[in-house]
């Protein structure tokens, strides 16, 4: 408080100059800020643009020294290589993309089916030690994957789930359920419980009230939550690489990482595969941009 008074007094005598000085300073500052933002945006986006550029460059230009930024020949060969094997037929990469779709899709559906009712129950009913239960649920999501994968590996080896899609689906579901519950609880909290009470006065059971009145209102939230779960499973690497090995089970992240295993690396192919892999994620993320804050904090922060 005192400081603000001092400031007001000290700027008093030069009051005539301040507006113009401030306006000029404001403009200079405006230019500076915009310039700074532009530079930062370029730095942040350059790797993405470079990846896209590399994916459409001919191999000769990919390894050019100094690097070619604009004058290169455009080719779609790398994208063809992603989907078509060199001898014709489907490539192993395209199979892995398909596996990713199946694993991410099924695990997301399962996490939604398990998580949404649980979130509703946590939101509506007085559950014993609710807070502790919710905290426990979220903390399972924070376990280091590389630690969890050791006992999971042994467990799967016992029951024959190593190198199966079911095994991956189960572990991804278990990692997405905590997120779904936390994210959905926020959405359920926003729907007034009075709707259900009113429906129950009309003779519906609690379950019917949930199914007929609350659930339809939750659909946009469910969609957003499912999209995030989809992105998490789609991008996941640690479990995928340790729990699967054969080409017809492996998902895309370990398959793409496998491209750099050999002595020579076809970076054009790596770039094209990465673009194909990342594109759906970016599209989906754009669709749920309103819920990004809640989504990336696992439903813990919502504003």
């Amino acid at each position: 408080m005192a400081v603000s008074v001092d400031e007001a007094v000290s700027t008093g005598p030069v009051r005539d100059h301040t507006p113009s000085a401030r306006r000029f300073g404001g403009r200079g500052r405006f230019v500076l800020e915009v310039a700074l933002l532009t530079v930062l945006a370029v730095v942040m986006l350059f790797p993405v643009l470079w990846m896209i550029e590399t994916s459409i460059k001919e191999n000769r230009d990919v390894y050019a020294i100094p690097a070619k930024f604009f004058d290169f020949k455009v080719t779609m060969d790398h994208f063809k290589d992603v989907f078509v094997a060199s001898g014709g037929g489907r490539s192993t990469l395209s199979v892995s993309f398909l596996n990713s779709v199946v694993v991410a899709g099924v695990s997301t559906a399962l996490a939604t089916v398990l998580g949404v009712p649980a979130a509703w129950a946590y939101s509506r009913f007085a559950v014993k030690a609710k807070k502790d239960q919710l905290f426990f649920i979220l903390s399972t999501r924070f376990m280091p994957p590389v630690v969890v994968v050791i006992p999971i590996f042994l467990m799967y080896r016992q029951v024959g789930l190593i190198d199966t899609q079911l095994g991956l689906i189960l572990i991804y579901t278990a990692f997405n359920v905590p997120f779904t519950i936390w994210m959905m609880k926020g959405f359920v909290d926003e729907v007034p419980a009075e709707y259900e009470d009113a429906a129950m006065l009309d003779g519906y059971t609690r379950l019917q009230a949930f199914w007929r009145f609350t659930l339809p209102l939750l659909l946009p939230g469910i969609a957003a939550t499912a999209v995030f779960a989809l992105i998490f499973s789609w991008n996941e690497f640690v479990f995928a690489t340790f729990l699967t090995s054969s080409d017809n089970v492996r998902t895309a992240p370990p398959a793409i990482a496998g491209l750099i295993g050999g002595t020579t690396v076809d970076w054009g192919l790596v770039a094209a595969a990465s673009v194909v892999f990342a594109l759906p994620v970016l599209v989906f993320a754009y669709l749920v941009r309103k819920h990004l804050v809640a989504g990336v904090t696992l439903g813990a922060v919502r504003r």
Binding site: P47, Y63, A67
Partner: protein, 316 residues
């Protein structure tokens, strides 16, 4: 506890019956039944896929079990733990992890907050800018790791190419001990600065306008306004983001695996990468389990801190 529930749900007519006491009673009972029926499948899955494996790891951590050698596991009690806690190798990895977590999270916080502050002062194109800045965060660590590996390549990497055209020398980013760890920090910062930015932006846009107006009537300086209005109001949310990032950085495995594989030497081996090596290359499952349990303990402490703080923030 759950046995009364099936009884009531088996009587669909009860809810519709006109006698007032009965529906009330059945409703309360069926509510409890519903809660159990809706929550327990999710909890059972978590118990089977998260808690049980950890308990198994806890058991293995007291044995000399090896996944490849097979044979029965012998109890050796705390030998694995003492071996890990006194190992100079582990101390080195702990230091590497600390440098990495601290360096990356600090850089991200400063940069992310700066970008958020700059964006919050724009009136036009805010949505577009935010969307553009968020792209790195949504990419898989695999894609990020591979791509930076390509860009940082000492021979044909575009970073060295740009340095060259500026007349600067070539840097062996990923093959020198010191620069490899810096590269790891830079790449992680590139990917996760948007995360801090997103949360800081949420905090900044929530600061009520009238506070700034009042301050400008008082002719408070820009720095004064920032220090007394902006920072105190955004700080709680920012701290949540920082803690979250610290936990994530501590768990990080995939980026290290793709970008440097812990090398050169062991210069970028973090604790999670070391656990992987002990478990899957050394096949000392017992030791690796003990190592993992110790890491889980650290994560639990950090998570508790995070959740406590989050709870406090929500109650305010």
């Amino acid at each position: 506890m759950s046995d009364p529930a099936p009884l009531t749900t088996d009587h669909p007519g009860q809810a519709a019956s006109a006698t007032p006491p009965a529906p009330g009673r059945s409703r309360r009972l069926s509510d409890r039944g519903l809660a159990v029926a809706f929550i327990s499948p999710a909890l059972l899955l978590l118990l089977a896929m998260s808690v049980f494996p950890l308990l198994w790891a806890l058991y293995l951590s007291f044995t000399d079990y090896s996944a490849t050698r097979g044979g029965p596991a012998h109890f050796i009690w705390f030998e694995n733990y003492t071996a890990i806690l006194t190992s100079a190798q582990v101390h080195l990895r702990a230091l590497t992890t600390l440098i990495y977590v601290f360096g990356a999270v600090t850089l991200q916080t400063v940069l992310g907050f700066a970008i958020a502050y700059l964006i919050s002062r724009r009136t036009h194109g805010r949505g577009l800018l935010t969307t553009l800045f968020l792209v790195p965060m949504m990419l898989s660590p695999v894609v990020v790791g591979l791509f930076w590996r390509f860009m940082l390549d000492a021979q044909f990497g575009v970073i060295n190419s740009m340095l060259g055209s500026l007349g600067l020398g070539q840097v062996e980013w990923l093959t020198r001990q010191r620069t490899a760890l810096i590269s790891l920090i830079v790449v992680d910062t590139w990917q996760w600065t948007p995360f801090i930015m997103l949360i800081a932006l949420a905090g900044l846009t929530a600061v009520p306008k009238y506070l700034y107006e009042a301050a400008s009537i008082d002719r408070a300086s820009e720095w004064f306004r920032f220090r007394t209005i902006t920072l105190p109001l955004v700080w709680p949310l920012l701290l949540i983001a920082v803690l979250f990032r610290a936990i994530e950085a501590f768990r990080l495995f995939d980026l290290v695996y793709i970008l440097t594989s812990g090398g050169p030497g062991v210069s970028t081996e973090t604790l999670s990468f070391h656990v992987y090596k002990v478990a899957f290359l050394g096949f000392n499952t017992g030791t690796a389990s003990a190592y993992g349990i110790l890491m889980v303990l650290i994560v639990i402490v950090l998570t508790q801190l995070y959740l406590r703080y989050l709870n406090k923030l929500k109650e305010d």
